[in-house]
């Protein structure tokens, strides 16, 4: 292994984990069957809002195969599901933080709210018994629409009579007001950022076991961050000592944010596993996923952009109502505030920005982070209003953006972030080139000959990944640190196991992280194994979300690997009878500079574990290092997207003809995985723009899109072949890998590009507004309305 080889970083290495996934040998939570396995079912509220008058479980308790029936009364001494982020209102008061009981106590607050847990010998026995539970409800009026929740006259929680959780703001309001007063032009926009239902392919599942032998619990669970799950459950809900609870998140089939959070079902199972004395498993059915997985987005927004006569942005004013749903999910308050309002500068040097956010409770499923989390909401409103301003001022949309690009870095925005680096002109000009924008008029003419409309739309997004540093996050309300932990264990033979606190549920850590470590030590890819997802193996971790894994988790691993090399250098110096400073490490070999005296990485590893000739007075044996990495700043990926649509004015059906994505992710470790992440993000962003929309009945609060028959997930044939390119960009300046994160970009940048393209196609008809998802029906209705009013 001492021969030089080409670096693995930057290579499209095939994913190590795919063999088990494509051969069906992955191990998901539902695959785990423990000895004496029992099963659970939950009784859920059919009402959006009701008082629980009585709950009779007698018949269920006596039913065949039933091992236990539990309700909110049994859990009276157990804590509620905690919220991990505290926001203060502008008047200094803390957000209204109502208890979120594990099982409903005296009231249900959304359809699907769990009321009782049944544990039985089989899923079937548990479900049959669930049907025997007699619940008497006193149905109450429901607050459903976030825009009117405050005035609905019905309170989801007594402590928030007007349903307002907090009213928060960022930016200098006076400066914004005065900039508007002197503006040559003001563009206004009202929009809704549609609520989405995540729909990971693997539904949520948990399997909880209590061991009386050592008075400890093990929870297998579909989680993106097992250590956080353990911490929250131990410290805030069940009071189990943290070292007596092991949380394992094995293979997880997609999360998109929805598996970050601690959910009531998981806590209920852990609690009941000790009462029943049996391991208890629950796997959500798809309809339960629809009703209980935290939803995403759901903002009602008005925005105003002030411009001078040359099209320079003077100020931006935003007012958003953010739907929290019935309870505060783990990170919910952070999403519309810290991850939304602080992104409103986008790629532009707008000097003054003010954003007010009112978070409201409604009788709907809780809302939390979903791929992009706050940043898609910011990008959507910003890129929509910029394009509208361009149309109003008759300036070419890319040109208006160029006039306002930030060009000097570091750049401190008026909403609290400092961008370290970026080159927005580079991604925009490359995107315009790849998209063949000059050929658009000819393509449009061709579409028109076929009776179709064609439009082009743009979006230039910025993203902030890897929320950091912990001290700032804490000042902004985080109740947790936002570092990451890693451990590098070099075995006596020189093979390496790496433990990371981040979690892969599709991202490909086992490959990407191995590329980084293999390069670091000059090893072959197969000599490095990545372990994650088990609190008993991994020292600590904050998990995977916000495109943080490589930027934060990868940096922790690099730090640990550097410690390994530093120690290896000292061992080599001893064995080679040289001073530490004279040892260099290159191509997998420690050598005395300027000589041919050397030791391989494996020889040093062996020496560390067989310390016969070893500087034992100065150095411990072994070769195993931990590191914690707390980033000094967010990372700021950015890019430009161009969408071209063709639509049929007779039916309203729209088709994306071409979609170009040009991103700057800083350094790239595995371009194939990055491309796959962009494709996935684009699919979800285009899904939001054209297909996906969660709808509740405004009166009853019933979920109208409660299955895949009514909620449209994107299918392959809804999407075009994507033209994706990652520019040789601007490496992040403050992490050792120079990486920025790529997991959410596609979902953040694409919705406004799609809607802008549709509005461009429809502009000749006088259509100025289109709600997402822009279904054929909505497009036809917008056209019909515009025709009627002309």
């Amino acid at each position: 292994m001492s021969t030089a080889r080409a670096p693995l970083i930057g290579q499209p290495v095939e994913r190590k984990e795919d063999y088990r996934f494509v051969t069906g040998t992955g191990q998901y939570t539902d695959d785990i069957v423990l000895p004496r396995q029992a099963y659970a079912a939950f009784v859920r509220s059919p009402h959006a809002h009701a008082n629980l008058l009585s709950l009779d479980t007698t018949a269920a308790r006596g039913a065949a195969g039933v091992l236990g029936v539990y309700t909110g009364k049994d859990l009276a001494n157990v804590g509620g599901v905690p919220c991990g982020w505290l926001i203060h209102s502008t008047d200094g008061t803390p957000m209204k933080e109502p208890k979120h009981p594990i099982l409903a106590e005296d009231k249900v607050r959304h359809v699907g709210d769990p009321i009782a847990l049944i544990v039985a010998e089989s899923v079937r026995a548990a479900k049959s018994a669930a049907a025997l539970i007699d619940v008497e409800y006193d149905a109450l009026p429901a607050a459903v629409n976030p825009a009117t929740a405050a005035a609905s006259g019905t309170a989801v929680h007594d402590i928030a009579p007007d349903n307002i959780c907090f009213t928060w703001a960022v930016g200098d309001k006076a400066a914004v007001d005065s900039a508007f007063a002197g503006a040559a032009h003001v563009t206004r926009l009202s929009l809704i950022n549609n609520r989405l239902i995540p729909n990971a392919i693997e539904p949520r599942a948990a399997n909880a076991q209590y061991s009386p032998a050592n008075d400890s619990y093990t929870l297998y669970v579909t989680s993106q961050n097992p250590h956080v799950e353990r911490l929250l459950m131990a410290a805030f809900v069940l009071g189990i000592p943290e070292h007596k609870l092991r949380v394992v998140a094995p293979d997880v089939g997609g999360g998109f944010g929805s598996k970050i959070y601690l959910y009531a079902e998981e806590a209920a199972l852990v609690w009941a596993s000790r009462r029943v004395g049996r391991p208890i498993k629950w796997t959500a059915e798809r309809s339960e996923s629809f009703l209980t997985d935290a939803h995403g987005r759901d903002h009602v927004t008005t925005a105003e952009l002030a411009l001078d006569a040359d099209g320079k942005f003077l100020a931006l004013r935003v007012d958003t109502i953010a739907n929290m749903g019935a309870y505060l999910s783990t990170f919910a308050p952070c999403i519309p505030t810290i991850l939304h309002a602080t992104l409103l500068a986008g790629q532009y040097s707008t000097p003054h920005i003010h954003c007010q956010v009112r978070a409201v409770f409604t009788n709907t499923t809780p809302v939390d982070a979903y791929r992009g989390a706050g940043r898609p909401e910011a990008t959507y409103l910003l890129e929509r209003i910029v394009e509208r301003a361009a149309r109003e001022l008759a300036i070419d949309p890319p040109e208006l953006r160029r006039r306002n690009f930030i060009r000097k870095f570091p750049y401190a925005t008026p909403v609290g972030l400092t961008y370290d680096t970026g080159d927005y002109e580079a991604t925009l000009s490359r995107a315009l080139e790849l998209a063949d924008v000059p050929g658009f008029p000819a393509r449009k003419a061709q579409s028109e000959r076929r009776g179709l409309l064609r439009g082009i739309g743009y979006s230039c997004y910025i993203e902030a990944c890897g929320i950091a540093p912990s001290s700032i996050a804490g000042a902004l309300g985080a109740r947790a640190g936002l570092f990451e932990a890693g451990e590098v264990r070099v075995h006596p033979t020189g093979k390496v196991t790496v433990f990371t606190g981040s979690h892969s549920h599709g991202q490909g850590h086992e490959t990407t992280f191995a590329q980084v470590v293999a390069d670091k030590f000059g090893l072959a890819l197969q000599d490095v194994q990545i372990e994650h997802g088990d609190t008993a193996k991994v020292l600590f971790g904050m998990g995977t979300y916000g495109s943080r894994s490589l930027a934060v988790g990868g940096s922790a691993i690099v730090k640990a690997a550097d410690k390994i090399l530093a120690k290896g250098r000292r061992i080599a110096a001893h064995l080679l009878e040289a001073s530490d400073e004279d040892i260099e490490f290159r191509d997998g070999t420690f050598r005395v500079k300027g000589t041919d005296r050397s030791k391989t990485f494996a020889e040093i590893a062996l020496a560390a574990y067989v310390p016969h000739h070893y500087p034992i007075e100065q150095l411990e044996p072994g070769l195993n290092e931990n590191a914690f990495y707390d980033p000094p700043n967010f990372t700021f990926p950015a890019g430009s997207y161009v969408c071209e649509v063709e639509l049929d004015p007779q039916t309203g059906a729209a088709r994306i003809d071409r979609f170009t994505a040009c991103d700057d992710f800083g350094n790239v470790v595995n371009p194939m995985i990055v491309e796959g992440q962009v494709h996935g993000g684009l699919a979800q962003g285009i899904g939001q723009a054209l297909l996906e929309g969660c709808r509740y009945d405004e009166q009853s609060g019933q979920l109208l899109t409660g299955s895949l028959l009514d909620y449209t997930l994107p299918r392959a044939d809804d999407l075009p072949g994507f033209l994706v390119e990652t520019v040789k960009g601007t490496p992040c300046e403050h992490n050792p890998l120079g990486v920025k994160g790529c997991g959410e970009a596609g979902a953040i940048g694409s919705p406004p590009a799609v809607i802008n393209a549709l509005l461009d196609a429809l502009a000749p008809y006088g259509v100025r507004e289109l709600e997402m998802p822009a279904t054929p029906f909505r497009i036809w209705r917008a056209l019909a309305a515009a025709r009627g009013t002309r």
Partner: protein
Amino acid sequence: MPSLSYHRPSSITEAVQMAHDDPDAKLLAGGQSIIPSLKLGLLAPSAFIDLGGLADLRGVRLAGRSLRIGAMSSHAEVANSADVRKHLPALAHLASGIGDRQVRNRGTIGGSLANNDPAADYPGAVLGLGAELRTDRRAIPADSFFQGLFATALGPDEIITAVEFPLPERAAYVKFPQPASRFALVGVFVSLTGKSVRVAVTGAGACVFRVPELEQALARGFSPESLAGITMPADALNTDLHGSAEYRAHLIPVLTRRAVAQALA
């Protein structure tokens, strides 16, 4: 799922007898609607009488100017049948667009027609071609078979054995899918047989229906231009998340024009 008995008769007579003896039993064809309904708790039959063992109910046969398709023929069999593709390509095309590959390999024409889902495709072809349904005891013309939402002329123990399709000169089916389910938001089947024109619409109402105004216009001249200026009233059409009655009413002549153009192509 509830407990239930399962029977697999070996003759049509035996199947009819079983259905007659147990009014709470359900006939099981391809199971693509009934099994999901069962799992969702919408149905709790005492038994399934599985028609899967009845070889007499399968297969496509060309007989003079008509195609006889056994009731237990799967959508995939219809879509891939050389006879259907040659003599009634519009029907092969329709069958190839039902559900997904799994549904097409399990679902059957007889099961679909007996269920009479308001957004199913096959009722469009059967009514749009003026086909005849053969049962264990009689022949039922398409015009009297479809009676309303999930309602047909079938008796409680009556079994569809085959569908007899007359061969038209021209025919086409155009479906505008509901985006999520991809059932027909509106589907239009048109046919020209001799001087007779049929236009059948599925997905738009409680049940498949013919549109006399469109048929009369096309009888005067079978071309898209004949339909110029014709609009449909929205009364009694479906409204849901995916489209209003007005949208469906608008789509009917649009899709009919396209179907006629396709039939002439």
